[in-house]
C-alpha cells in the first residue's frame, strides 16, 4: 500500500539546515499495523506528515496505492486526505471555539457525505471514544485527553483505509489508552492499515510491526519479533 524510496526532508531556516529525514526506504502492505518509535526530535512526526500527504519531501518518492503522491495536484491531495487517510495530530488541531460534534462533522462536510447522516455518524464516533456526553462542548472546554479523543473520532469519520496517528494516547490514562487501542485493533481486523507513533513500548506492543527511527534514519524494523532487512 505504501512505498517510500530515498525520502529526505531538509528544513532550511535562516540559512541553518536541519535534516529531519535522510534517505528513508520502506514498504507497508495493506492491512498492516505499524508502530513508529524513536527519541524526541528523531523525525517521526515529519515522516508521518509525508505519509499523510500533508507536506512534501525535499527529495525521494512516496507511492500510495500505486500513485506517486509528488505528482498529484493540490486538489487531488485534498481528496486523498479526505477519503483515504485519517490523521490524528500530535497537537490535536481541533477547530477552536467549535463543538466536538462540529469538529467531527468537518471532514464529512468536505466529502459528499449525505447531509442527514453526518450528525448521526459523528455522534456514534464520539460515543465510541467515550465522549457521548460531551458532544456540544467546545474544544477549549475539553481536557487534553478529551481533545485527543475528539481528534481520533475525527480521523475515523470517513472510515479511512489508512489511519495515521501521532501519539494518539500521549495524553490518555491507561484505561482510556487501552480502549483506544481496542478500537484500533478492531479497525485493523477489518482490514484498515494503521500507522501510529508512540513513546510507550506497552502501546507499541499492540502493533504487529515496530519501526524505530533515530536522527532521521530507520535503525530497526521488527515484524512479529523478527528483524526485517533495512533497505539503503
Amino acid at each position: 500500500m505504501i512505498k517510500v524510496t530515498h525520502l529526505s526532508k531538509i528544513y532550511k531556516m535562516d540559512g541553518v539546515q536541519t535534516v529531519a529525514l535522510s534517505d528513508i526506504n520502506f514498504e507497508i502492505d495493506k492491512g498492516e499495523y505499524v508502530a513508529i518509535m524513536g527519541p524526541s526530535g528523531s523525525g517521526k512526526s515529519t515522516l508521518m506528515h509525508m505519509l499523510g500527504a500533508l507536506d512534501t519531501p525535499t527529495s525521494g518518492k512516496y507511492i500510495l496505492d500505486g500513485q506517486e503522491v509528488g505528482n498529484l495536484s493540490d486538489d487531488e491531495l485534498a481528496e486523498i486526505r479526505n477519503k483515504k487517510i485519517g490523521f490524528v495530530f500530535q497537537a490535536f488541531n481541533l477547530l477552536p471555539r467549535t463543538s466536538a460534534l462540529k469538529n467531527v462533522i468537518l471532514p464529512l462536510s468536505y466529502a459528499s457525505y449525505p447531509k442527514e447522516n453526518r450528525e448521526k455518524r459523528a455522534t456514534e464516533l464520539l460515543t465510541m471514544v467515550g465522549l457521548g456526553d460531551r458532544l456540544h462542548h467546545n474544544s477549549n472546554q475539553l481536557s487534553g485527553g478529551q481533545q485527543q479523543r475528539v481528534a481520533i473520532a475525527r480521523a475515523l469519520a470517513m472510515d479511512p483505509a489508512l489511519l495515521l496517528a501521532d501519539e494518539p494516547t500521549g495524553n490518555l490514562a491507561t484505561s482510556q489508552s487501552e480502549e483506544i487501542m481496542t478500537i484500533f485493533s478492531d479497525l485493523n481486523k477489518k482490514g484498515h492499515t494503521i500507522i501510529m507513533i508512540t513513546h510507550e513500548p506497552l502501546i507499541a506492543k499492540f502493533a504487529k510491526r515496530i519501526i524505530t527511527v533515530r536522527d532521521g534514519k530507520i535503525i530497526k524494523d521488527e515484524k512479529n519479533g523478527k528483524h526485517l532487512k533495512i533497505k539503503v
Binding site: H49, G52, L54, D55, T56, D74, D75, A78, E79, R81, N82, K83, F87, F89, N93, L95, P96, R97, T98, L106, P107, S109, Y110, A111, K115, R154, M158
Partner: protein, 407 residues
C-alpha cells in the same frame, strides 16, 4: 460543501469572534454612513437652492435700481429710487419691446401686520396683476390683486399661507376679514398657495397689496424696488434684456451703458451663481465623504488581513481534512462579502436616517442618491473582497503542515 453550508460555515466563523466582527462592521458602517449622509445632504442643498430659484418664475428678468458696480466702484449716482411705475408701463407699452410678455413692477418693504392681537413683521409687496403671471403665483382662496384694485388704490391685501397661519391660525380662511398694515385697515381678498422656502427665500411669509396703495398710502414713495419681467421664451432672454436696457437708458437719458442707474439680471445668472456656490459645497462634502470611505476601507482591509493571517492555522487544518483550495477561498470570500454587505446596508440606513434628520432640521428636501449608495457599497465590498482574498489565497497555497505551523 454546497452554497448553504458555505454560508452557514461563514456565519458561524463570523459569530465565533463577535467583537472583531462587530468592529469590522462598524468601520464599514461609519464609512458608508458618512458617505451617504454627506453626499445626500450636499445634493439636497443643491436641489433646494435650484428649485427655489426656479419657483421664482421661469424666463424671469429682474431690473433693480442702482448702478452696475465695476470693480467695487459705482459708475453713477442714483441710489435706490431710479425705477418707477412709469418705467414699467413704458416697457409694457413700447412697440420696440417685442420679447417681453409680462411686466411686474414691485415695491417691497417690511412692515408690521396685525390682525386682532396677533402681529407679525412681514414682507409687504405692492404689485399689479401681472405679478401673478411673472412669479407663478396661484391662489388657494379668493382672487389676486386686480387692475381695478390698482387703479383705484384700494386697501385690499392678498396673504401668503405663512402669514395666514401666523395671524389667524393654521387652516383658517380669513378672506373677507381685515388686517392692519402699518395701522391702516386692509380687506383680505385672497390667499396664495404655498411655495415653500425658508429664510430669505421664504415666499409664503408675504402680503400683497396694490402697487399704487403701497406707494401712496403705505410708504409714501413714488419709485418701485424692482421690475420683474417675463421673457416670451427662454430663447429670447438676451434679446429681451437688450431691448429693456436700451429703452430704460433712453428714458433715463443716459448715453453710456456703463453709467446705467439700474441693473438687470436673469434667472440664469442667479442660478449660475447659486449652483457655483452649492457645487463647491457639494464637492467639499464629497471630498470629506471620500476620505471617510478611504479610512473605512483601510479599516476593512486591516481587519481582513488580521482575520486571515490569524486563521492561517485554521486554513491549514481545513485543508488537512480535505478542503479544496477553492472551498477555502470561497469561505473567506463569503465572510468578507457578508461583512461588507451587512455593514454597507446598516451604514446606508444610518446615513440615510442621519441625512433625513439633518435635512428635516435645516428644512432641506430629503434626497437619497442611488449612485452614492452603489459607489459606497461597491468600493467597500471591493476592498473587503480584495484584501480578504489575497491573504486567504496565500494561506491556501501553503502546504497544510506549513499553514498549521504558522504563528
Amino acid at each position: 460543501m454546497d452554497f448553504f453550508e458555505l454560508l452557514a460555515e461563514s456565519l458561524n466563523a463570523l459569530t465565533l469572534n463577535k467583537m472583531r466582527t462587530a468592529l469590522a462592521t462598524l468601520g464599514i458602517v461609519i464609512g458608508i454612513g458618512a458617505v451617504i449622509a454627506l453626499i445626500s445632504l450636499g445634493q439636497a442643498g443643491q436641489k433646494a437652492v435650484q428649485s427655489q430659484i426656479e419657483s421664482l418664475g421661469s424666463n424671469l428678468l429682474t431690473v433693480m435700481p442702482g448702478a452696475a458696480t465695476t470693480g467695487g466702484v459705482r459708475g453713477a449716482a442714483g441710489g435706490d429710487t431710479t425705477l418707477t411705475y412709469d418705467d414699467a408701463k413704458a416697457i409694457s407699452t413700447s412697440p420696440e419691446i417685442t420679447a417681453i410678455s409680462n411686466v411686474s413692477p414691485e415695491l417691497s418693504r417690511r412692515a408690521q401686520v396685525t390682525a386682532g392681537r396677533n402681529n407679525s413683521n412681514t414682507q409687504v409687496v405692492g404689485v399689479i396683476p401681472s405679478y401673478a403671471a411673472v412669479r407663478n403665483v396661484t391662489m388657494s382662496a379668493g382672487t389676486f390683486i386686480t387692475s381695478n384694485n390698482v387703479d383705484s388704490e384700494e386697501k385690499v391685501a392678498v396673504l401668503g399661507p405663512q402669514v395666514v397661519s401666523d395671524l389667524f391660525g393654521d387652516g383658517a380662511d380669513p378672506v373677507g376679514q381685515s388686517i392692519r398694515i402699518n395701522k391702516q385697515a386692509f380687506r383680505i381678498v385672497g390667499i396664495t398657495v404655498s411655495k415653500g422656502g425658508t429664510g430669505f427665500l421664504n415666499q409664503d411669509d408675504i402680503v400683497f397689496v396694490p402697487l399704487t396703495t403701497a406707494q401712496n398710502q403705505l410708504f409714501g414713495v413714488d419709485y418701485v424696488s424692482t421690475i420683474s419681467l417675463a421673457a416670451k421664451s427662454a430663447d429670447v432672454m438676451t434679446e429681451a434684456e437688450n431691448q429693456v436696457v436700451y429703452l430704460l437708458l433712453s428714458r433715463h437719458k443716459i448715453k453710456d451703458p456703463a453709467n446705467a442707474d439700474f441693473r438687470i439680471f436673469s434667472q440664469a445668472d442667479v442660478l449660475g451663481a447659486a449652483s457655483q456656490v452649492t457645487g463647491t459645497f457639494s464637492a467639499l462634502l464629497s471630498g470629506i465623504a471620500a476620505i471617510s470611505l478611504l479610512v473605512g476601507g483601510i479599516g476593512i482591509m486591516n481587519i481582513m488581513l488580521v482575520t486571515v493571517t490569524e486563521r492561517t492555522r485554521e486554513i491549514g487544518l481545513r485543508k488537512a481534512l480535505g478542503a479544496k483550495k477553492k472551498t477555502v477561498i470561497a469561505q473567506f470570500l463569503a465572510e468578507s462579502i457578508i461583512l461588507t454587505f451587512v455593514g454597507g446596508v446598516i451604514g446606508m440606513i444610518l446615513g440615510a436616517g442621519l441625512s433625513l434628520v439633518i435635512s428635516h432640521f435645516i428644512s432641506l428636501p430629503f434626497t437619497l442618491s442611488f449612485s452614492a449608495i452603489v459607489l459606497a457599497i461597491g468600493v467597500s465590498a471591493g476592498i473587503g473582497i480584495v484584501f480578504g482574498l489575497y491573504p486567504a489565497r496565500k494561506a491556501a497555497d501553503l502546504s497544510p503542515i506549513e499553514a498549521l505551523r504558522y504563528e
